[in-house]
Every structure is written in structure tokens, then in C-alpha cells.
């Protein structure tokens, strides 16, 4: 890989130990993918924030970076933490977990990232433009950025995104290159999905059909952004997909069709067969303002049952807007709990007594099932989910 003289100096340690370590990480990844050189990035989005995921090793790593005076040199946002950073007690998070989580956020603050704590950075202080090169972790955001916003990023890991945030560079490979942003598999959808939940499920189904980075999808209707957001998350979860194209015309090697009956079959296999569900979680990816409105509408004249919980997860940015428009009050008076900074995928659900849960996101379903063997998880469309836990 070609390095400029400046980059060589950074790798040699002329700019200090933390820059050297970050360059080493980025260069190693570049070598793995045979990148020809490094490029500058407009922004980074860092995952590996929840203490549940990174553990004491993560705390140590971040602390070591802070000790070396690591500072972000480009705009950098962060993924959700393991709890609502202010209202963790209301979530039932144990103090021992909270203490550790706050050590993580303390280090992040010292590094100078934008503490957005959301998987939807594009709705929260980090909306890239077409063609911009980024180093984003959080696979659902990567797919959204590449596909909906026309930006360019690979599926970074938490550490590589952090390293890129610090030195402002990423290796030139994969999604940064025109020739890689081409689909080989084309998926034809004859059924017109109607809700974000449906898109999430379809994305999840499509993502498992290919080992490629890019997939092409055709569908009879035009999807709105909350649906594309859900589609991105579903796609990113079940495989390696980094990008989708919609209704493009040609050049595919393989074609596949997905019909309504395929979707119904999958839905039936992960749906709730009349089980008693205690928790319903919405907001994977984080609920947008529009989705909070939809939820409030579904609960018009309804209330969450006393023996049930309905939680919605969103970003601080969206929460503030929802609060000032009275939307949060509406949700709260219907018995919904609204949490920021976290989500059902990265929070320690086993430590907060969640036993059986329904979600309206295929991504959430996948991760809860995988991470918590003791929790019974089900998938349902948002409307159905609301029915399960309210009257």
C-alpha cells in the first residue's frame, strides 16, 4: 500500500503513540483488503459503546487511548450505549452496570466525539452528502449511508472507526470504489411492503441470500425513509451486505424472486403464537419523529396494560424534537416508556428482568434471540405489537 510521507511519519510515531497505533490499525486493515492507499474521511461513526458488548477490555482500551491524549480529528458520532445515560434507573439497570457504562462515556467525552449515542447518526448531527467518504461502524447506518444517501463507507468495526476518527483516514477499498458498488444478485419483490416492520423482515430475508456486499432490489412501490431505514437494518443483519440499489436495470449475474407467501412464511415462524408477552420494544433502528407519531396514533384511545411494558428507543436529538411538540407527553400518558441513548440490542436485557418480548424489527429479533438464550423473543408488525400489550 502506498503511504504519503506524512502517513509514513505518523506510522513511525512522529505524531505520537496514539496516532501511530491508529495508523497501524488502519494500515493493517488496508493490507488485508489490498487497498492501494489511504483516503481522508468526512466523518466517523463509532460502535462498541455498550458496556455489555465491550466489557472491561473495552473500558481498558478506551482508557488507554485517553491516557495517550487521543482526540478525534474529524466529526465523529457514537452508537447507542447499554442504557439511557440519564434515566438508567427507570430502565432497571443495576448500579454496577451503570458505573461501568459511565466509564466508557467518560472516555468518549475526553476523546472529543459527538456524544449522540444513536444508530441513526444521519438523523442526528451526522448526515453525509452524496459521494462523501466516511468510516462508519453500525451496519444498519452503513447500508443507509451507502444506499439512501449515496455516501461511501465500508462496514467498519468499533475500533477501526475510532482509529479513523482519530487520524481522519480510511483505506481505499470496497465501498469507496465505484467498481465494488455493483450488485451481482437482483431480488425482485412483487409484493408491495407497507410498513417499516415489513421492510425490516424483507431486508433480513434478502441479506441472507448473498455473500456479496451489494444487492439490487426491485419493488412495485416507492419506499419512504423510515421504511428504507428499516430495510437497511434488516439487510445488514443477516449477512455482509453494505449497500442496496433500488430498481436498477441491468448487469446482474443472478435473479431471485420474493413473494408474499415467502414473507408470510418467515413471519409465521418468528411470530407470537398467542404467548404471553410482558415486554414490547420498538425503535430498532432508533425511532424517528415520524415513527413516534405513528406509535402515538396507534395508541390513541388505548393504554399500555398495567402488567405489560411498551418501550420505545430513540436518539436524544429526536427526543428533544418530540418533547417540544408534545409527542413525548402523549406517549407517556398512554403508558409508553421513552428511552434515549440505548436500545434493546445492546442493553443487558437479562439484568433487567426481561423474560418474553415482542419486537417489530427483524434486527432486534435476531440479536435478542442470539444474545439471550433465556429470553423468549417474537416478531410482529408494529400494529400487532401494540395490540399485544395495550387495551
Amino acid at each position: 500500500m502506498f503511504l504519503t510521507r506524512d502517513e509514513e511519519r505518523m506510522l513511525d510515531g512522529d505524531y505520537g503513540e496514539v496516532a501511530r497505533k491508529c495508523m497501524e490499525i488502519i494500515v493493517a486493515i488496508g493490507e488485508v483488503f489490498e487497498a492501494k492507499k489511504l483516503i481522508g474521511i468526512k466523518s466517523a461513526h463509532i460502535s462498541g459503546i455498550s458496556y455489555k458488548n465491550i466489557g472491561d477490555a473495552g473500558i481498558e482500551l478506551l482508557r488507554d487511548f485517553v491516557k495517550l491524549s487521543a482526540r478525534a480529528s474529524v466529526s465523529a458520532t457514537t452508537n447507542p450505549a447499554g442504557m439511557d445515560l440519564e434515566h438508567w434507573q427507570e430502565m432497571g439497570i443495576p448500579a454496577s452496570f451503570a458505573e461501568k457504562q459511565l466509564e466508557v462515556t467518560k472516555s468518549l467525552s475526553a476523546i472529543g466525539v459527538k456524544e449522540t449515542y444513536t444508530c441513526t447518526p444521519y438523523l442526528s448531527k451526522n448526515r453525509p452528502s452524496k459521494g462523501e467518504h466516511l468510516a462508519w461502524a453500525e451496519s444498519s447506518a452503513v447500508v443507509y449511508a451507502n444506499s439512501v444517501l449515496g455516501a461511501r463507507t465500508n462496514r467498519e468495526s468499533g475500533i477501526s472507526a475510532l482509529a479513523s476518527a482519530i487520524v481522519g483516514k480510511t483505506p481505499l477499498y470496497g465501498m469507496h470504489l465505484d467498481e465494488c458498488r455493483v450488485a451481482k444478485l437482483h431480488v425482485q419483490l412483487d409484493h408491495a411492503p407497507k410498513t417499516p416492520s415489513e421492510y425490516s423482515l424483507i431486508g433480513y430475508m434478502i441479506g441472507s441470500l448473498t455473500n456479496d456486499d451489494v444487492v439490487s432490489i426491485s419493488m412495485p412501490n416507492k419506499a419512504i425513509s423510515s421504511c428504507l431505514k428499516a430495510l437497511s437494518a434488516g439487510l445488514a443483519t443477516s449477512g455482509r451486505v453494505s449497500m442496496f440499489t433500488i430498481n436498477s436495470k441491468s448487469g446482474f449475474v443472478e435473479k431471485v424472486k420474493i413473494e408474499l407467501k415467502d414473507i408470510e412464511r418467515v413471519k409465521g415462524s418468528i411470530g407470537c403464537g398467542g404467548e404471553d408477552i410482558t415486554h414490547a420494544f420498538v425503535g430498532c433502528p432508533h425511532a424517528s419523529l415520524k415513527e413516534l407519531k405513528v406509535l402515538a396514533n396507534l395508541l390513541k384511545k388505548r393504554r399500555v396494560r398495567k402488567d405489560r411494558e411498551l418501550w420505545v428507543f430513540t436518539s436524544r436529538t429526536t427526543y428533544r424534537r418530540a418533547e417540544s411538540s408534545g409527542l413525548v407527553s402523549k406517549l407517556l400518558s398512554a403508558g409508553v416508556k421513552v428511552f434515549r441513548d440505548t436500545c434493546m440490542v445492546v442493553a443487558p436485557l437479562d439484568e433487567i428482568n426481561v423474560k418474553s418480548v415482542v419486537v417489530d424489527s427483524a434486527k432486534a429479533y435476531h440479536y435478542i434471540k442470539r444474545n439471550f438464550k433465556g429470553i423468549r423473543a417474537f416478531f410482529a408488525d408494529t400494529r400487532e405489537l401494540v395490540d399485544f400489550v395495550s387495551i
Partner: protein
Amino acid sequence: MQIYRGRVIVKGLAAGEALVSKEPVSFYGDVDPKTGVIVDEGNELYGRPVSGKVFIFPHGKGSTVGSYVIYRLSKEGRAPLAIINVETEPIIAVGCVLAKIPLIDRIPLDFMLTVKNGDFVEVDGYSGIIKINNRD
């Protein structure tokens, strides 16, 4: 002695006993981050520590949290001496950078078929040369 050449991803020198997994390894979930012991019941190396070994496996997989696990192991002094992959990927690469462990990949298939647990392996993470001294 058999000699092979691979691609250097993380530089360094190491020499020690080989620990060979035929299965890809996810450090997050398959390896205990405190002790370095393989806790994946599906792996034939279950119960054995990767610590102090030249750990050889096809490639990494699973969560990117695996990189943190490798880092943690190195802080506890329980990391492998070196890692050799058939085709590596970022989780392992980043972990090895953080832990300062030599990483070589793209070794010929012949190497994977020849090397056995317990063989003494020398890893030159500058030239990319790997030498096996069989136990017998």
C-alpha cells in the same frame, strides 16, 4: 523442518508450540477473555488455552468485539504468541495490532495440512516465513 511463506499483516517475531484449529474462531464467545481458554464446545480444542501458543486457524469470524478480547488477553499476559490464518479478516487483524502479536496469512494450504498441535513453529513477521519443526 518445513518452510512456508505467507503475507505479513502485523509484524513481529515469535516461536513456540502450535495450537491448530480446523474451524474458524470467534474470539468473542469462543475464547474466555480472562484465561485464554477455548470455551466453544463445538471446537475440538475445547478447554485448551490459546495463551503462549502459535495459534493457527482458517480465519476469524463473529463479532468485532473479538478484537477487544485479543487485546484483553494480551493485557493479562494470556494472548497467543502469534496468529496464522489461511485468509485473515479485520477482527483478527485489529486484535493483533492492539495486542502486538505477529499475524501472517495466505500461507499455502499445504501448511494447514502439515502442521500439528505441539509442533514447534517459528514465525518471522517481517519476511513472512514460517518454519515448522515437527515434534518427532
